[in-house]
Structure formats: structure tokens, C-alpha cells
């Protein structure tokens, strides 16, 4: 149901923005005002979120250790999975952010006759997530060609690598195919995996449909309904130089793409998509396992009511004495 609603919503946005792209009076709204507003919401929202997180302190030192601690010199410690140095923590975080280390551990538990548990390899989610995120990064960087003059060399180089397979003209970019397949995989498991289906919500589907809409509209523009790239570049340059114009040559499909991107940007800080920023702050991952080596201070620590030795001795005085244990006060 929530999948259907989010699908219809994305379709509706697609239809409206396509129609709006055909009508002169709304082209400025969709091509300029909406992207500006979306970018403003994205930046302000993200800053707000990160500040909110950063403003809450980390009162206790709570890393999750996934390997041997640093203890006796002759015991080999796991310097990444249970890091006790700054370098170890940075490496651990890099492994999480760049390669999704923890997701790589994923397995699938099955209960067989006996009873007997089997923990099967299950790297599908890891692979699809990695494929999606890396493709997304490359695609976003590729789009810089629209926003900077001259186009930096690394972007041209990236295109060359991305177009490695040299299929068709314009040549097929690998990331376009990969991101679509990865998104479809991530979407299908929300329907076919009964556990994931049960936990999926409107916003999970919405994010996937938005991303798919963006990917598909982008692919359509590149391979099927050629758009005027000069016009798109003019539009983009106008936006970044704050002298917006909407060239007449820009076709309606561009507005669909731009509107979906704008929605995603505006939605980003207010949804689960903020995980991008959040992972850097996760206290179970970004703290060293040196809890007993270095004192950690709680900024809001306050005194609590305790039961002191003196109170304890007073209450049990006679019994302590009878047992022959030493007393502070005879």
C-alpha cells in the first residue's frame, strides 16, 4: 500500500513536471525556483541535522568491538576491527564508509530439521548497496561537467573509464546500467523478502522510486530522446552563477529529471537519507577501543545518591563484628 502510494506520487510528479516543462509560464518555476528552493532546503536541513547530532554529546565510551582488544604485548590485537589508535579508527571508519565493512558480514539464518541452524553467505545486499552508492558518486561527479567551465580533466578521464565497454553511440556508461540494476534489486527485495517487506515504510519506497525516476529520466535523455546539451549547460551555469536563464531549447524531459532531483534534495535531510552524514558520527564505530587506557569524560555528569561504606558499616555493624571482620569504628 505505502509502496503504491509512493509510486503514484513519483509518477504524478513526473507527469506534472513533464507537462510543466511544455508550458512556458511554469518553466522558470521548475527550472529555477524549485531547484533553488530544494538546494536551500537540502543545505539548511543537512546543517540543521548535523548540528543537532553534534550538539548531543557522547557521554560514554561505547565502541562495538569486532576483534581482539589491545592487551598483552604477545597477543595480536585487531587494529582495525577493535582499534586502539587514531589510525585504526580512521581505517575502520574508511572501511565502513567506502566498502560497507559491516554489511559485508551479512549472513542468512535458516532453521532446518533437527533443529539445526545454517548461516548461509548473503552478500547480495552488500553488493547492491555498494554498486548503487559508488555509481551514484560517479554519476554526481560526472554531472559536474554541466556546472564548471572548463570541464576538469578528472571528469573527462572518469567518463572514459565509465564508458569502457564502448557500446553504442553515445557510448554506454557502465554506472548508468549498474545504478538501475542495483536500485531494482534493492526495490525487489522490499517486495520479495518477507522480513524486509514487513519493515518497509512509505519513505523507503519513496526514496527508491525517486532515485529510479532520476536514473531512468537521465538514461532516456542520454540514449533515447537526445536533449540539447548546450541548453542544459546554459541552464546549469545560470543556476550556479546566480544569473538564471531557461533556454528555449531545453526539452520537457530535462524538467522531469530536474524536478525529481530537486525533490530528492529537499527530502534528503528530513528522511532516512541523512544516514550519509550520520555514519561519520556513530559512536559505536568512531571511538577507539581504549576505554581503560584513556579516561573519557561525560560533560553532563552529576553526583548521584550512593550507599557509602560508613552507612553500610553502621547498618551491619554487629554482624561484621561477630564475623570477625575489621571495622572502621569499633
Amino acid at each position: 500500500m505505502s509502496a503504491l502510494i509512493s509510486f503514484i506520487l513519483v509518477l504524478l510528479v513526473t507527469g506534472l513536471s513533464f507537462a510543466g516543462g511544455e508550458i512556458d509560464s511554469s518553466r522558470f518555476l521548475l527550472g529555477v525556483i524549485l531547484p533553488y528552493m530544494a538546494m536551500a532546503a537540502f543545505l539548511a536541513g543537512l546543517v540543521y541535522r548535523v548540528l543537532k547530532w553534534a550538539n548531543s554529546p557522547v557521554p560514554f565510551h561505547i565502541p562495538t568491538t569486532c576483534g581482539q582488544q589491545k592487551s598483552l604485548p604477545w597477543i595480536k590485537s585487531s587494529w582495525i576491527e577493535s582499534p586502539h589508535t587514531r589510525l585504526g579508527v580512521v581505517t575502520r571508519m574508511a572501511m565502513e564508509i567506502l566498502f560497507f565493512r559491516s554489511l559485508f558480514r551479512n549472513s542468512r539464518a535458516q532453521l532446518r530439521e533437527g533443529p539445526r541452524f545454517l548461516y548461509a553467505e548473503n552478500k547480495g545486499l552488500w553488493l547492491a548497496a555498494l554498486a548503487f552508492h559508488w555509481s551514484m558518486l560517479v554519476i554526481v561527479l560526472r554531472h559536474l561537467r554541466f556546472f564548471v567551465v572548463p570541464v576538469p580533466r578528472f571528469i573527462l578521464g572518469m567518463d572514459a573509464v565509465d564508458g569502457f565497454f564502448q557500446v553504442g553511440a553515445p557510448q554506454l556508461l557502465v554506472t548508468d546500467a549498474v545504478i538501475t540494476v542495483a536500485l531494482l534489486f534493492l526495490l525487489q527485495r522490499r517486495f520479495t523478502d518477507s522480513q524486509v517487506r514487513y519493515i518497509s515504510m512509505f519513505s523507503d519506497y519513496l526514496a527508491l522510486f525517486l532515485l529510479l525516476g532520476i536514473a531512468v529520466s537521465g538514461i532516456l535523455m542520454r540514449y533515447f530522446f537526445k536533449v540539447d546539451l548546450e541548453g542544459v549547460k546554459q541552464l546549469a551555469m545560470g543556476l550556479v552563477t546566480f544569473s538564471p536563464t531557461v533556454p528555449a531549447s531545453v526539452s520537457a524531459l530535462v524538467f522531469v529529471h530536474l524536478t525529481l532531483v530537486s525533490l530528492l534534495l529537499a527530502y534528503f535531510p528530513f528522511s532516512k537519507l541523512v544516514h550519509m552524514g550520520g555514519i561519520f558520527l556513530s559512536p559505536t564505530r568512531n571511538l577507539a577501543n581504549n576505554s581503560r587506557m584513556v579516561r573519557h569524560v561525560n560533560p553532563w555528569d552529576y553526583p548521584v545518591k550512593v550507599h557509602t561504606y560508613q552507612e553500610w558499616e553502621e547498618e551491619f555493624h554487629d554482624k561484621i563484628k561477630a564475623a570477625g571482620l575489621p571495622l572502621e569504628r569499633e
Binding site: W53, S56, V58, P59, H61, I62, T65, C66, G67, Q69, K70, S71, I75, S78, E81, E96, S102, R105, N106, R108, A109, L111, P115, R116, Y119, D193, S194, Q195, V196, I199, M201, F202, S203, D204, F270, K272, H275, G278, I279, L281, S282, P283, T284, N289, N290, S291, R292, M293, R295, H296, D301, V304, K305, V306, H307, Y309, I320, A323, L325, P326
Partner: protein, 539 residues
């Protein structure tokens, strides 16, 4: 009275496919065997906690204060500001589902709300409804849910079906730790007087007498003396076990079950033998007679209140550093909280082993050393004479206890000791040990008899891995370094995997330890005859 649980073959008739229904329906059926009873009013009063009264979870009226909703929401707001973990973990979950089948309670019960992601969503939905812009405007569509009495009752049910074992956080791509969320929700429930007796009675006891079991100073001395007598019978040697002795070099703190529970007790015998043999200058304390800390299962404040006596007593007795026995959650507190809560321990010295001279660099701030770190250092430096054949009647496996594994990374030390005191050590499958170890199913204050069905369900994944090594290698002893494991795994194993006993690492150390002047050992620490002698004679 708790009813007998169903038979194992009935209990495993489960399917991991959740129903099509919407999980946001909060109604919970409080079925016998699957929940813990409420905390007695006297315990709340003793600990100065709010809303003491008589009630039970299966009553329809929980006698909540009239403004309970405001109290909870205010409590949430305060904790969102005080704990980055809480705010972050409310925001960044993408519901990828990687954690779903990592929880022993989900694996044993197939209740979809025991998937860690959904357990967290139980409060995340309330967070979104009241604390995010999207949730305040779009309510249900943004995944928000009103805080109703049914939701509160659902929280109580499921956040007392989490053992804070942190296994899910190992698999989460963002490190979201359900233990953190469970701790927050239990704190919130405490604010309106919704709590369990199995957590708060030990806490109240510990606050008053110094230990969970409520053992008073003379009782503590009696049980230690009893152990000394028994050791004399087994070894012919009379060891000393000083209590509250000022000027000792080391304060030794153990979970109270070690001197009052079985099979913990055999581990206590092992400690006493070891300390005698190396001539350790140490003392027990009848005031700090508990390493465990049920405050961890109640609130951060209670944890701090109960933990305070460890440093206070170390200072009063004038020791140089603290040595801690085999206990799981005690070490979560000692490793990750104690220094922050009740330090700095500048009245202590950086721990150095008086026997080997080894400086325990990893404990240089907190100044508390784990007994397995201490003993493995002794063995490595060849300070102990060990006859591992005295454990030949045991085929041993090692169960990593959750907290030493996932909050400390204490993985190799106990294994090193085991390999030196046993000739037959077998690992369980790799998805079930080390950082991926499965909880006993009874931690975090759930180990009570009225909760037996849920405990057995939660214990299934662990017991099943034990079954694997029992059937393959003939394993008949599971060793572990956690008092709750030792108290509850015998029940779970007897039910799922009969024929496997539970013991501590230092029980096997005691068996193997060759003491100067000992008489010929005819029994192990359980007073069971040592079979291998007969076997030699027969051969």
C-alpha cells in the same frame, strides 16, 4: 507459578515469514512464560524510584501516573539532548534489514518485532511523530505513531525481550546499537514506574548489602570460609581468603553468584587456589561484594550508583589496583563506564602484575584488570605448573560472553588459558563465536523463571551451536566467563542440548593447577572422581 514450557520440538515450530498485517498495531498479548513480573513496590521505594505500586503486566490497568505521556515525552527530549547515540540511532536507520535475523530472540521466536530494526522502530515511530517536522505534519505517512498506552505496553514487552547483547550492532552498516536504544526505553519506562522485579530487586539488594543476592557481611564471610574448607579437602592445602583487609595490594571483585551459585562456585575455588599458589597479596570486600551491576539494565544513573562502591572501597582499603573476576556485564561497566562515571582513579596505581612484572598498559587509566588477562600473563611467563590431563574428562568448548566479546574484545585471553589447561578444546561454528557470539538468551535482567519460554527461545541459537560440537566432537563442557551465562545456560542446554555442563575458565585452571605441597588429587573441583587415573591403571 511458572508453567512448564512446551517441548523443544513444539517450540521450534516457527516461521520467519512475518504476517501481512501492519506492525504498527501495538496490542500485545501478555502470555505466561514470555515476560517478567513487575517490580515490587518496596524495591522502588528503597531505591527512591517513582510510582511504587502493586500491578502486573497482564493487568489491563497499569496504574500509570495521569501525566505519563508528558513524562515520557519530556524524558525522551532530555535524552535526545544528552546522548548522541540515541538521537543518531533514531535518525539514520535505512531499514535495510541486515540485522533482522541476527537477534537470538527473533531466531528463537520468529516474532517479527524481535527483529532489531523493528524493536527500534517501536520507539522510532514515536520519535518521528513528536520530534521530527515530517512526522508532526504527515503523522503515519512519515512513519509516525501516537504514544498510546498500548504502545507503552508494547515497549515493556519487547524492550524486556532484548538482552543488550549488541550482536545486531556488529552487522549494522551504521553501527546502530539496539542495546543503547533498549537502555533508553528502559530509562523512560522507569520514569513512570514500569519495571521488572528481576532487575530492581538485585539492584536494591546491591545498593543495601553490596551484592545482588542480598548477602550480608557475615554470610559473605561464611561462604568464602566454606570454600576454603572445601578446598582443603580436595587439595590438602588451607588457603587464605582475606576480606576487607587494609593495605592489600589488590582488591578482587567477583560477581556474587561466584560465591553463592553453582557452577560459578567451582570458578571461585579456582581463583582461591591460583592466588594461594602465586602468593598474591589481595583482599575481597564484603562491601564491594558484587562486580555485576543490574543498574546497567535499569538506567545510567542506577549503574553509577551501584558501581560507585568499587572505587570507593579500593580507596578505603588503600589497594594499588583492582582485579575483576569472570563476569560479562560487570566488564561492560568496568571497561566502558566505570572510569567515566566514578573516576578518575588517581588514588590507584597503574596495574602491574606482582608476579611477572607485566604492566597492564591497556588498563592504565581505569586501573582494573580482567582475571583472564592476569592469568594468561602468568601462564605465558611460565609461572604456573599445569597438568592439563586433569581436565581430560572434559571435552571443552568456549562460549564468548556478549560483553567481553563485543564491548571489550577479550577474545584470545580465555582461549589461551583454555589451550593450556585442557587437551580437548573445540570451537563452535564461526558465525556463533567471537564478535558474532550468540547470547545465552537470559542477560540484561531477563533470567527469571516466569520468563522461561522466552529465555529458551532466546537460548536456541547458542544451544544449537553447542549441539553441533557435542555431536561432532563429544563436547561435554561449555566454558564461559559470565555469571549470567553460568546461571542460565545450564537450563537452556538441558532443554535443547542435554549432556553438556557449564563451567568457568578458572574452574579448569584450578583443576589443572599443580600446587606446592598438595595431596594427590582424586577428584576435580566438582568432587567428581578423576577418571584418567583409573584408566591408566586399567591399561
Amino acid at each position: 507459578m511458572p508453567e512448564a514450557p512446551p517441548k523443544p520440538e513444539e517450540l521450534v515450530q516457527i516461521s520467519y515469514d512475518p504476517p501481512y498485517a501492519d506492525w504498527r498495531d501495538a496490542r500485545v498479548e501478555y502470555r505466561k512464560g514470555t515476560f517478567c513480573y513487575s517490580a515490587a513496590a518496596k524495591n522502588l521505594r528503597y531505591l527512591s524510584m517513582p510510582n511504587p505500586r502493586d500491578w502486573q503486566p497482564f493487568n489491563s490497568d497499569w496504574k500509570l501516573p495521569p501525566d505519563w505521556r508528558e513524562i515520557i515525552l519530556k524524558g525522551m527530549e532530555e535524552r535526545l539532548k544528552k546522548y548522541r547515540s540515541f538521537r543518531l540511532f533514531m535518525d539514520i536507520c535505512v531499514r535495510c534489514g541486515a540485522c533482522a535475523d541476527k537477534c537470538h530472540f527473533f531466531l528463537g521466536s520468529a516474532d517479527p518485532k524481535n527483529m532489531p530494526v523493528l524493536r527500534a522502530e517501536l520507539i522510532r515511530s514515536v520519535y518521528r511523530r513528536y520530534f521530527t517536522l515530517a512526522g508532526r505534519i504527515f503523522r503515519g505517512l512519515a512513519g509516525g505513531r501516537d504514544l498510546t498506552e498500548d504502545v507503552l505496553k508494547e515497549w515493556f514487552y519487547y524492550f524486556y525481550q532484548c538482552t543488550e547483547c549488541r550482536r545486531c550492532s556488529v552487522f549494522c552498516p551504521f553501527g546502530i546499537d539496539t542495546a543503547e536504544i533498549t537502555m533508553m526505553v528502559r530509562e523512560l519506562l522507569n520514569l513512570v514506574g514500569v519495571n521488572t522485579n528481576w532487575v530492581l530487586e538485585p539492584a536494591a539488594n546491591c545498593f543495601r548489602t553490596g551484592n545482588h543476592l542480598g548477602i550480608q557481611p557475615h554470610g559473605f564471610k561464611d561462604s568464602i570460609d566454606f570454600a576454603v574448607d572445601e578446598l582443603e579437602e580436595i587439595t590438602g592445602i588451607r588457603v587464605e581468603a582475606p576480606i576487607n583487609r587494609k593495605g592489600a595490594e589488590i582488591l578482587f571483585v567477583v560477581p556474587s553468584a561466584d560465591y553463592f551459585g553453582t557452577p560459578h562456585y567451582y570458578t571461585l575455588l579456582g581463583y582461591l587456589m591460583l592466588f594461594h599458589e602465586i602468593g598474591l597479596d589481595y583482599t575481597f570486600s564484603a562491601y564491594a561484594s558484587e562486580g555485576g551491576n543490574f543498574g546497567l539494565f535499569s538506567s545510567h544513573e542506577m549503574m553509577k550508583r551501584l558501581n560507585a562502591k568499587m572505587y570507593a572501597e579500593a580507596q578505603r582499603l588503600g589497594v594499588k589496583w583492582i582485579l575483576g573476576g569472570e563476569c560479562g556485564h560487570m566488564w561492560r561497566v568496568a571497561h566502558q563506564y566505570m572510569d567515566t562515571m566514578n573516576g578518575p582513579a588517581d588514588f590507584l596505581e597503574e596495574p602491574v602484575s606482582p608476579i611477572t612484572g607485566t604492566r597492564f598498559e591497556n588498563a592504565r587509566a581505569t586501573r582494573m584488570v580482567h582475571i583472564c588477562e592476569f592469568t594468561s600473563d602468568l601462564i605465558h611467563n611460565r609461572k604456573l605448573k599445569l597438568d592439563s590431563s586433569r581436565n581430560d574428562h572434559w571435552k571443552v568448548t568456549f562460549h564468548d560472553s556478549c560483553n567481553p566479546a563485543r564491548a571489550m574484545g577479550l577474545l584470545e585471553e580465555p582461549r589461551y588459558i583454555l589451550r593450556n589447561v585442557s587437551n580437548h578444546f573445540y570451537e563452535m561454528p564461526e558465525n556463533t563465536i567471537r564478535e558474532q557470539t550468540f547470547c545465552c538468551g537470559s542477560g540484561a535482567g531477563l533470567g527469571t523463571d516466569e520468563n522461561i519460554e522466552m529465555r529458551l527461545r532466546g537460548g536456541l541459537p547458542r544451544a544449537n551451536a553447542v549441539k553441533y560440537v557435542r555431536d561432532k566432537y563429544g563436547v561435554n563442557l561449555l566454558t564461559c566467563i559470565c555469571a549470567i551465562d553460568k546461571a542460565t545456560l545450564p537450563t537452556a542446554l538441558e532443554y535443547w542440548t542435554p549432556g553438556v555442563e557449564v563451567g568457568g575458565i578458572h574452574e579448569l585452571v584450578g583443576n589443572a593447577l599443580v600446587m606446592k605441597g598438595e595431596k594427590e588429587r582424586t577428584t576435580d573441583l566438582r568432587s567428581e572422581p578423576l577418571h584418567q587415573k583409573e584408566a591408566t591403571v586399567n591399561a
